[in-house]
Every structure is written in structure tokens, then in C-alpha cells.
Amino acid sequence: MSESILRVENFSVDYGVGDRAVRAVHDVTFSLGRSEVLGIAGESGSGKSTLVYGLTRLLRAPGVIRSGSASLTIGEEGQRREIDLLSADERELRALRWRHISVVLQSALSALNPVRRIGKEFDEVLRYHGQGTSRAERRARAEELLAMVGLKSDRLDRFPHELSGGQRQRVMIALALALSPDLVIMDEPTTALDVVTQREIIDELRELRERLGFAMIFITHDLSLLVELAEQIMVMYAGRVVERADSSDLYAIPRHPYTVGLMNSFPPLSGEIVPMSGIPGSPPSLASLPTGCAFHPRCPLASEECSLSSPPLVVEGSRSLACFHSSPSVRERLEIRS
């Protein structure tokens, strides 16, 4: 693996403090290589968004980081320096944000200020980060950025509500790349879009990444999308990482029953139609998690052990897995059952 840009260890996040605290992210450890794409898959409430907002310190109250460390390595080759994200003060964070880490949200309509023209957003980001001395210079840069995502420069004079959903998301991506950041966080950027638009944006993202070399954390509930886009995939359930692997490995041989269930939740686009079952039950509420492995009430392989203690995340080569039933044949066994 290449040199890492983001290192996260034993990272935990709570909502609230004291008796009513709810743990939303539990003891997450991972690292992200330079120019690498990490996909985080999971359903609502799995903690995937909480994790990245916690790391960037953008998580809103009552979110509180309870343990762990997170550091970002920035700077040119040869003069790299590591910044501790969790002890950084407001000034350091401000200098870091957008220039080194930028964010794209699911709904670009709500992420863009509704009363300002698109051009203003670009102008502001460039100006406050000291790029482009004159207004005209910044305007030229903004046009260049829009062209990069296939939009005409007249969009700069529009308001967000005057663009289509796909155009708005493209604007967000162009904006996120405006300062050539080292890391771009994409929080379900295509979930609200149509399939065809999603396809266009995914293709564009792949191409841009190859060209510009930024690292990316891509959050979605759609595993198959991640398989196409990411090098590494991390699957989360109820605040914990349950499986982590290279995307091709994960797709070929998913080993956690939840991962298997997730993959079985998407009917295939080709082949014979076989009845599929998804995963029984519903995702648990964080406020009342089951004992032991949080997945055990929904797991077809659950044994008594699973309800007693939570399986640790065991690293094995390039894979990590948190399951007591970790034989490679899980998938076959599950398929026989369903």
C-alpha cells in the first residue's frame, strides 16, 4: 500500500454525554493511502456519516468524540507534515479545510446557499484561501473548474434553484476540487440522482481522480457502486466496522454475514431470477443495541456466543473481519440457506 494520508485509530463518537449518551461510532481504525479511494458502505444509522463528520470535526452537537486519534498528512513530497485533527484548534482547522479536505453532500441543493449565485461560491472559496488576486482571475479559475465537470460558464450567474439536480451536484464537485485538496469526502453524492446521472457523475469522478490524484472517501449504501469506484471497502453496522477488504476481494468473497446480506439485497441485472431474501428484521436503533454482536438478531449464522460478546475486528492480511463465524465458506452456507 502507498504512503498513507489519513490515519485513524480507535475512533469513537457519542451523541450526548452521561447517562443518555449513545455511541454512534465504535472504535474505528483505518488508514487511507494517498490517491486511494475508500468506500464506506452501510445503512442509515450505521455511523458512516458520523465517522467522517467526526474526523473532520464537522459533526454537530450533541456529537462528541470520545476516544481515538486521527491525523492527516499534508504538504508536498519531501516536506510532509502530519496534523492531529483532534487536537487542532479552530485556526489550524480552518487552514486545513477545503484546501486539504473538502466535502460533497448528498443534497447539493441544501449545501449551496440558496440566495447566492453559483459564481459567488467559487469566488469566496478562492478568495478566502488566497487564490487568485483579482476578481477576474478567480472568475477565470471558476470557469475552468466548471468546464472540468462539463458545465458551461454561464452557470456561474445562476442561482442553485435554477439548476437541475445533476448540474448542482457537478457544481459541488467542481467546488470541492477548487483548491486541489488531498482528500475529498463524498457523502452519498449520487443517492438523490437518477441512475443515468449517477453514472455520468461516477465516470467523471473516476476520470478526475486519475487526473488530479486526490484521495477520496466515498459513502453510500450501494455496495455495487463502491465496487466499481473504490479500492478499499469498509462495511459498517451499528457504529462498528464489521468488514474491510480490497473491493474486488470483498465483492468476490464477502465474509461477514451482514456484507453477504447487503449484497443479497440488490437483485442482479442479469441471469436467472432466484428468490432473494435481503436481511430479516430492521436495523437496530443506536439507543437500544442488542447485546453481543449487534447484528446477531438478524444473522442466519448467529450462535449463543454472538449474543454474549461482541466479536473483535481481526486483521488478516489485507482483510479485517468482525465475526465469530469467519470461515471463507460463509457465503456458500448463506446461499444454501436462502
Binding site: L58, R116, Y128, G165
Partner: protein, 326 residues
């Protein structure tokens, strides 16, 4: 544009309603107030004046009510609002001499109140949860306190007892009215306390409204994005405030009416010249022509202020200009 034209239509209609109410109210009220007024006036004023009141209110006239209504409009367009009974002068000239006081005092106070109240509300909303929150009950108290009470107590304490501010009135009786520095300085000096009292009682409304909106807007994604973009804090607050102020501007219509109502009392409390004082005197003396004229002027002024607020809103919120695409 369409929205704006619609609003303008509403205001035209409102003006029409106010003018028509002015015409019909004295004619349709139970107990016939005008007839009893004329009864009282007989012998006190010249027969011409009685005649002019009769003409204006249609007592003892033989023309139909619709003809009177038409004449009323014609007179209105010629700026003829009748003759004041108590002041023995044409209502329009009385109003013309007094309206500047009111416009000046209330105008300045309204603008200051909106600006300070909104700015303070934005800050309160931003620092929500901090100790500044304890300002809220205090502000609520001021908001709930009747204006005339607050004003009177302020006069008592700040002016009579502490002598921080000059006595009642609009300017130093020794100053010579005119465009000279001495007079202007005394105008400002005498205006301080009235303006301050209006601010205290009306700022709270803007402040609380803005705070609530600010808290709501801070929850929006684009504010979080402004932080994520590494913008300085004042810039982030600006992003939020720019959106949070919209409902305040939209509510101007309601607020301005209430504000003007409350502020009319300021003239009474401070013995300040202006339309408010005129209104009260007209009411107490049953000077109906003057009363009508004042109500008309106040309504038209409030409508004008509303229109300005609407134009401002239209300019501030692009979504009113073009329809939202899906």
C-alpha cells in the same frame, strides 16, 4: 415581478378599504356620532364650519350616498381632507406641518430597531446555548411591556431623576427653529430618549424572531458547508444571517403596523409633536375630520413602508424571482 405586482395590488385594495371605511364608518355607526357632534358644536363655531362638517359627513344632505362617495373621492384627489374643528385649519395643512416629526422620529427608530434587533438576534442565535441566552427572558419582558409604560418609566428615571436626558418636548425651547447647528443638535439631543425607548420596546421582537430563524438556519447544510470551506467565523455567520433575515423582512408588514401603533404613543409620553399627538387630541375632542385625515395618512405611510419591505425581500431572495426547478 409577478409577486411584487400582486403585493402592490393588495396594498391598493387595502388603501381603498381604509379610505372607504373612513367614509362609511361615521355614517353607519350606531348612535350617529356626527349628528351629536353637530348638536354640541352649534353656537360654538361659525355656521360655515358647521356646514362644511355636514357636507363632509353627509348629514342633512339630499344627494345620494353614492354621489357623496364620489365627491369624497374627488376631494381626496384634490388633497382636500376637510377642515379640522378644533384647530380651525384645513386638515391637510395641519397634517403637512406635523407629519415630519412623526416620520423623522418613528422612521429613525424603526430602522435602528430593525438593524440592531436583527444583528443582535443573529449573534444570539449563533451563540445559542451560551450565557447570552439569559437575555431572552429579559427581551421577552421588554417585548411584553406596553410601550407607554416603558416610556413613562424611562422619562421618570432617566430624565426626571437622573437628568441624563433633557425634558419633554422635541427641541430646546431656547433654540431657534431652522437649519442651524444649534437647533439640529438640540433635535438630536431631545430625540435620544424617545428613540431609545422605542428601541427598547420594539427591538426585542426583531431580536427574538431573528434568533429563532438563525437557530433554524444554522441547522441547514449550507452553513455547515461554509464551515467546511474553512471560511472565517464572521463569514459563516453572514451566510446564515443573510438567509435568516428573510422572514423578518417578510414579516415587516405585520411589524410595521404594530410598531407605528406603539410609537404613536411615544409622542404622548414625551409630549413630542406629530401625528400621534394630533390623533389623540382629535379623538378626545371628537374632531372627526382630523381623525379621518390622520388615519388615512397613517395607513398610506404604513402601506408605503410595506411596499419598500416587499421590494427589499424581492431583491434579497432570488427564489421569488424565478420558479424553483425540481
Amino acid at each position: 415581478m409577478r409577486v411584487l405586482l400582486r403585493r402592490f395590488g393588495v396594498y391598493l385594495l387595502t388603501a381603498w378599504v381604509a379610505i372607504t371605511a373612513n367614509f362609511f364608518l361615521p355614517r353607519l355607526m350606531p348612535g350617529n356620532p356626527i349628528a351629536s357632534l353637530i348638536g354640541k358644536l352649534t353656537g360654538q363655531v361659525t355656521p360655515q364650519e358647521v356646514r362644511s362638517i355636514q357636507l363632509q359627513f353627509g348629514v342633512g344632505l339630499h344627494s345620494s350616498i353614492w354621489q357623496q362617495y364620489w365627491d369624497y373621492w374627488v376631494n381626496l384627489f384634490h388633497g382636500q381632507l376637510g377642515t379640522s374643528i378644533t384647530l380651525s385649519a384645513s386638515v391637510s395643512s395641519v397634517l403637512a406641518s406635523q407629519i415630519y416629526w412623526t416620520l423623522g422620529l418613528i422612521g429613525v427608530a424603526t430602522v435602528l430597531s430593525f438593524v440592531f434587533g436583527t444583528a443582535l438576534g443573529a449573534l444570539l442565535g449563533w451563540t445559542r446555548g451560551a450565557r447570552t441566552d439569559s437575555l431572552i427572558p429579559l427581551a421577552t419582558f421588554f417585548q411584553a411591556t406596553p410601550y407607554f409604560f416603558l416610556g413613562s418609566v424611562m422619562v421618570l428615571v432617566l430624565s426626571n431623576n437622573l437628568h441624563w436626558f433633557p425634558d419633554l418636548g422635541a427641541y430646546d425651547p431656547n433654540a431657534t427653529p431652522g437649519f442651524n447647528w444649534g437647533f439640529i443638535a438640540s433635535l438630536i439631543r431631545y430625540g435620544e430618549l424617545p428613540v431609545l425607548s422605542i428601541l427598547l420596546s420594539s427591538m426585542a421582537g426583531w431580536m427574538l424572531g431573528m434568533r429563532n430563524m438563525m437557530v433554524t438556519v444554522i441547522g441547514e447544510d449550507f452553513v455547515l458547508m461554509a464551515v467546511a470551506k474553512g471560511l472565517p467565523r464572521r463569514r459563516v455567520i453572514w451566510h446564515a444571517a443573510r438567509n435568516a433575515v428573510l422572514p423578518s423582512v417578510a414579516n415587516f408588514a405585520l411589524a410595521i403596523g404594530l410598531l407605528v401603533s406603539g410609537a404613536l404613543l411615544v409622542e404622548l409620553v414625551f409630549n413630542y409633536p406629530g401625528v400621534g399627538n394630533l390623533l389623540l387630541n382629535a379623538t378626545l375632542n371628537e374632531d372627526y375630520p382630523l381623525l379621518q385625515g390622520i388615519f388615512l395618512i397613517i395607513t398610506l405611510t404604513v402601506l408605503g413602508a410595506n411596499l419598500i419591505a416587499d421590494v427589499l425581500y424581492f431583491w434579497l431572495d432570488p427564489r421569488t424571482r424565478t420558479p424553483v426547478t425540481q
